[in-house]
Symmetry: C2
Amino acid sequence: MRGAQGDLLRLVAAGHAESRAELARLSGLAASSVSLRVEELIGSGLLVEEGAGTSRGGRRPRRLRLSPSAGLLAVADLGAHHARLGLLDLSGTPLVVEERPCEIADGPEATIDWMAAAFEDLLAAHGPPGVPLRGVGTGIPGPVDPATGRVVAPSRMPGWNNFPVAERLGAHFDLPVLVENDANLMAAGEARSWPKCETLMVLKTGSGIGCGVMVNGALHRGRGAAGDISHVRVRSDSSVTCSCGHDDCLEAYASGAALMSVLNEQGIEVRRPADVVALVEDGVPEATALVRNAGRLIGEVLTVLVNFINPDAIVVGGSLSPAEPLIASIRAAVYERCLPLATRDLEISTTRSGPDAALLGAGSLLLDSVLA
Amino acid sequence: MRGAQGDLLRLVAAGHAESRAELARLSGLAASSVSLRVEELIGSGLLVEEGAGTSRGGRRPRRLRLSPSAGLLAVADLGAHHARLGLLDLSGTPLVVEERPCEIADGPEATIDWMAAAFEDLLAAHGPPGVPLRGVGTGIPGPVDPATGRVVAPSRMPGWNNFPVAERLGAHFDLPVLVENDANLMAAGEARSWPKCETLMVLKTGSGIGCGVMVNGALHRGRGAAGDISHVRVRSDSSVTCSCGHDDCLEAYASGAALMSVLNEQGIEVRRPADVVALVEDGVPEATALVRNAGRLIGEVLTVLVNFINPDAIVVGGSLSPAEPLIASIRAAVYERCLPLATRDLEISTTRSGPDAALLGAGSLLLDSVLA
DNA sequence: CCATCTTCCTTCGAAATCGAAGATAAGGCG
DNA sequence: CGCCTTATCTTCGATTTCGAAGGAAGATGG
């Protein structure tokens, strides 16, 4: 699995290469060396040959896939009140995904131990016998220091500040462990569905507003808070103080939580961001106006960032993203105000990976350590 | 020069490695292979051994340098009314730098041909005999399409739109050619002076406002306009229409040109951004207030970007940068409003590379093609 | 249907790379 | 000063990688 051998596996696992010839082109190795290596990998049961691909004008390639028995990854995406959990094979294909209730406010120890038990559970129920677990990973709704795997200064996660999540999770499994911000995982997951996009911004619109950035095909982590847009000051008439202590943060106007609190004050009862989406779909004017305004504010912030990093696409995901007016007003703001050069081929659309984007992203990032 | 041989040269040229042992560590090659390769490179006159380095507790390394006769690079930085021109050796050290008057408004053909002649001039006057020219490069005060080397939709460069600058320059020299935005070159140049910073924002404050971004040690080009911050909408009382057609762009309030026009209206005569700096240093209150306000506006824009990409440092260069109040109010705005996680170890300071930053950057980027 | 082209993959001798062992050259310390 | 430790660099046989040539399998086009 080490070295160049791992490079080949990773290219196949990530879906970049499907044949020996593609491996040779992408890895830079000579075709003959690739053949030798692939033979070994097939011999050790990690790769399998699976039928023939489509011809590109000559002999058809012999398609390569990661063996389903090469290993499993256990991944999770932690939310405030529930967690999504899944098992993936090494090519990132989900075997099973479940959503279970889980209170993040119970604190890190309880939550992580619960997660470890849930992973064992899933393995017992859905893991094919004899296939080893090769890595575990989870998304966290707060900033994570990439160097240490600790949560750093999260809002809305009492008791988690500076907790060594990766370490605790690693104590349950003697395997590569990944701990990463949830929006970053979403970005890594979406990136697999946007193969031509080198630079990608992925917005997670739910109770909060998160954003992950892929630059040159790699997740940009910065100091652990990269992608944060929720505490940008927005142009606004009123003056609202955000939980961070500053006035007029985007989050205080455009997050799902903010929309819900306005609606509740107006006597329209909502409990989850999805309820807001339902109201919009039912044509409730108060909800539509609020969502449209949120989109405009988010779009104005994106304006600055689009001019600055020139992404190839902006992907909108999260529980508010099905609301049509949200993305429409984001589009309007960005296309109106950005430089033509920056918007010329810019695509702004909803998620291609769906609700499992973060789990897929966890798999994608875990592969790098598992096949190192 | 090809392949792995070039990798070693590049590591030495970029200043990352100074001995065979360092080369082995950084290149990933075995120490024995490095020795062989280095021997060849010394044999072919590209590398030279130069005394001994300092011991790290054992035998002292034998220091390696690029031979001064390995080659030369001719680089330029084009401004509106003058150009900086220089010759560098392959390790990026300037042999000579000159500033010459040059009107960019004369159009691309005239300007580029003039530049080619100026390069020949410099070579004749300062080029050591027998040392070959190995590459040419220039900075342009406008967006450059990285794929084609064409200028794209520049403001203030009449007649240059879509002109194939790289092609025209290449017609004079059958060598690798680099054409890049001037702020991007500054960023690449500064990066050499900030070796520990993986993510760097470099601001060029002159008549206009430019910005270059290094992400993960590499220049981020985006679609050619990456780093643009001059057309961000700022919060402001009055309403000024920018040359781009939108209202309240940063450039319309905080660029050197904007400051100069206000001062001239007030009867204080200024002709160049440096005159504004001089007024500030003389304690003229109108100038100081204007510069401070410009810094605040720039700082507020940077706030969004710092939260978003978490740079390790922000470098302020350009002809306005010597004005103390400018950087002071940028700092104040950023430190006040950004997330603590993003500003914890963030350094904001003036250029380390000085006025030749763009030329050094051109050399640094050119090396990649010259030693490919 | 057959010649020709393209692409994919393998074979095999030549060349590059590795890595373990050793030689060389310091600094530190009793 | 002699001895130990650390680090740099070289030697040399074993291994890996390359690349040119060729075989295999399909597309193309008369």
